[in-house]
Assembly symmetry: C2
Homo-oligomer: 337 residues x 2
Amino acid sequence: MTGRSPGEQVTIADVARHAGVAASTVSYVLSGKRTISATTRGRVLASVRALGYHPHAGARALASRKANVIALVLPLRTGMQVPVVMRFATAVVTTARRHDHDVLLVTADEGPAGLHRIAGSALVDGVLLMDVELEDSRVPLLRELALPGVLIGHPADSTGLACVDLDFRRAGELCVEHLAAAGHRRIALLGAPAAVYDRGTGFAHRTRAGVRAAAERLGVDAVTRPCEEGPAAVRRDLEALLADHPDVTGLVVQNESAVGPVLATLPLLGRRVPGDTSVVAICPDELAEQSGLTCVPVPAEEVGRQAVALLMRRLSGEPVPEVTLLEPHLTVRDTSR
Amino acid sequence: MTGRSPGEQVTIADVARHAGVAASTVSYVLSGKRTISATTRGRVLASVRALGYHPHAGARALASRKANVIALVLPLRTGMQVPVVMRFATAVVTTARRHDHDVLLVTADEGPAGLHRIAGSALVDGVLLMDVELEDSRVPLLRELALPGVLIGHPADSTGLACVDLDFRRAGELCVEHLAAAGHRRIALLGAPAAVYDRGTGFAHRTRAGVRAAAERLGVDAVTRPCEEGPAAVRRDLEALLADHPDVTGLVVQNESAVGPVLATLPLLGRRVPGDTSVVAICPDELAEQSGLTCVPVPAEEVGRQAVALLMRRLSGEPVPEVTLLEPHLTVRDTSR
DNA sequence: CTCGATCGTCGAAGCGCTTCGACGGTCGAG
DNA sequence: CTCGACCGTCGAAGCGCTTCGACGATCGAG
């Protein structure tokens, strides 16, 4: 029984009165910023529980100049790998909570103005930027606002920033190395939608670069081609690719929505997998697992966790590395040989 | 040039000084809660722009007892229709911003404790609850905390609540009516994963009920069966279904991940679509459009908009209807006859 | 012309919290 | 023993904003 109607804010003064101490003492117990005797601490904590006290977020933000909230700026537009984004978001929220922070969801459509608003109103202490382009307009703004930020993906110039990403270049190389080792001499990358390349999205460009570099190094042929979304489009793009390059026997797919249709279409084109054609994907692991697909998993959770951890370190003033690249790994399943 | 280092908070006092008025006057200009002469207002607004002033969210929340933030409580667990959730989230953020509110992302894993925390700390003014189950533990809590909330989906007992949802019962009926009108006498519902039914998730149960009711009313046979995710699982469940009920000629699919595989599998079973078997889905429209699928679209955006609008009305003390059901519509494409 | 309304503005009082400086009380070193 | 250092606690001052009451000025009605 709290003796208060629900919805009424329990204040630190209530707790102090209940425990017979000063409000500041309660604050120090909760923050641990000054030593408090075990007895007093025990009494205070008991009162906190008894009253169901939660500090008023606004008041705390005002006094301490920290909101304990971070912003997650999501793309939410076409061409995005939706499930990846989702799993990533989950990891971010969970990790942030573990660091006693909440997550504000901001859509990229709000653009730079959104960042201005958020920074100016002290709504958040820092931002996580997803879907970063090679030349991203938000990046200079971040520098200018002196708003602590961590980027998912990395822009061309990462000076003074903190970026986390799967090493997509290496992932591309890995796929080609795997196929080349299995004896494939002609390899094709069926990539993201053209719009994604046009936007200059890092992961697409870097993967392509990795594929090309590895192919050159290993002396195999590699062609690359964007691929639109939707079963019909995938099928069309795949057929066109194989019509132009009929001698391709190794396929690297980096497009979530293409995985299913590619696997369904190849047999119809008279190509058995992996007998005639090997398929390797860069995609979430569950998706690949469902189809027994050889893949380089995109570790969305791990990226999310790392990103939050980096941001937390920045918020506490620690220096952090500019670029954190996660090492990709290839999981061999049934679609490659 | 603001004359302040970036990251320094511009306060209302700065604006007041710059405009030569009192701080309270600035506040009234911005809130419109008292009449201010056009000249003064103009001067103040100019200063606001010149200094790039954004009110400090915490201070504002403290003084006004409104955070101008709503919480979006997302499931983020298996069996969810991920793209739907995503589009929904986008609509929520966009609509909320239009009402001058931000959105805090909360995962359902935090459970009731999360709601307590959020309510107690005045972090948010209200909550949007997704993925509501028929008997949802968060619902009584919402009542108890007197926390304004809007549910997406609706629980068995919606007294005193506000719920928004597509009328899934009607959607189920619509599909059956369409198939029956085309002459199909034996119809099957290939539904959500079994876990979704077991959780008592409203949309799955209501759709099934609608299918059964319409079938009975129209005198056609209807069988229903859950369907797991992933191409292989879908194929297996579909084959089992058709083995048990070979005379089924009309298929209702309510499972995003099943749409593609179902369409791919039917021809392999010697069933041409729509010649031998008609397929109708309840799924996002883009997904259906890609495959030329007859469907009842799930209007994620519309639900998101409505939900936010309802919450805003609740926050301003207006009474709102307990249940808002969106009328489903069937779009005929190439997979049904 | 005077008086009450009305309008536009101001000053001050908090909102609930953190944090700084201060102050008694202990305790160990000299 | 005495004195300084330290420990545990308190009171007060603000953080930036909203909002209430007050107050001069303006204006129309009597």
